[in-house]
Symmetry: C2
Subunit: 219 residues, 2 copies
């Protein structure tokens, strides 16, 4: 498994770099999904189950971005998807130039879907367009339903909000209706799923959305 | 309750600004604790219980730092401690200059303990000395025991690690021994507590440490 050491690229041109990268990926028919969340919200666990369910239908790769370690890329490789581990040189987010370098690490194989698992952080990754076709964020039940109030930008820039770890909802005071209303107030177009990787709740709906997004990206 | 709108200060002199602020607070006998964690790790909930238990023994104030909202400062005021809400103008951390401005918002009253509840983020706050006498980080059980591998700097700069939400440990695969070994490998001097704000587990030990730290700061 490849580990790629990155440096932040010049941010002045980030929006342009991101638009160029997105256009190139569209041309290739590769949907890049930028997956964002707090540390420990369940990004890798969601990917493990999603890849297991979809890998016979599409060619999937994952770019794991972390300040350090390669534990997530090792987990993804174990379930049979191609993965690279990107180290961000201490940076708290990925930008378009870093994403391009990580994509190069995946080689020339054509992928239908590449997921960038961004650094665990509810703030900074929301500020940088990576060139992704879709932005998907996770919020886990243990984090609490007030997070849209405190981290509004992340909810505003995401196409999809997946509320994870619903199996432990009985042990936490998480008001789903309040959370969803807060997210929709920031972003009326956001699509919301509730999932549990333990029980499988909600995966059918999330994966149907993802398959449709991959298909639409190719048209 | 006061809301203070902040801008990032010049970081080149941040270490010096932090040292000056720390010396001033030492002179006044005020211990500033920089409380750091991911979003939703339980910082405000820990503070609520700690303040309830200790407010008759010492004069405590809290500075809540968030990108937006005032929900945390409202919670702290409800239990009878002085609180200010600092808005970071989108910034993902507090620096020494921002901390000084937030402290000014607390007024001239002498405090034994001021807690800065930093922005929810396991990366950026670890990079900026705020002038605090002690750095305390939380890691919640639902986040997972691998976090020291992925966010090493936060564990390296903290004097204390509090593992929170231990009451839900039966519902998560969290290896306490592995987590503690990983944290100690990064920072052999780190003091570790395991707490549950729901059951009260571990609060006696944490509060004994805090009382001792406040007392030592005055000597």
């Amino acid at each position: 498994m490849k580990i790629i050491e990155l440096k932040e690229t010049i941010t002045a041109s980030n929006d342009r770099d991101a638009a160029v990268l997105r256009a190139e990926l569209k041309e290739k028919g590769t949907l890049l999904v930028n997956l964002m969340a707090s540390p420990g919200a369940g990004k890798t666990t969601l990917l493990e189950r999603t890849i297991r369910d979809l890998k016979d239908e599409m060619n999937i790769a994952v770019m794991e971005a972390d300040v350090d370690s390669d534990v997530d890329a090792v987990r993804i490789e174990k379930i049979g998807a191609k993965a690279v581990q990107a180290h961000t040189d201490g940076m708290c987010h990925m930008d378009a130039g870093m994403t391009r370098r990580a994509l190069e690490g995946l080689g020339d194989e054509p992928f239908d879907l590449v997921v960038l698992e961004n650094v665990g952080n509810l703030i900074c990754p929301a500020e940088f367009d990576t060139g992704a076709g879709k932005c998907v964020m996770l919020l886990s039940v243990p984090e609490g339903d007030d997070k849209p109030l405190k981290y509004p930008l992340m909810f505003s820039v995401s196409d999809v909000l997946i509320i994870t770890k619903t199996d432990v909802a009985p042990y936490f005071d998480f008001d789903f209706d309040a959370c969803i209303a807060r997210a929709k107030k920031l972003n009326p177009n956001i699509t919301i799923f509730k999932v549990s990787a333990k029980t499988g709740e909600g995966f059918e709906e999330w994966e149907a959305w993802l398959k449709s997004a991959v298909k639409n990206w190719k048209n």
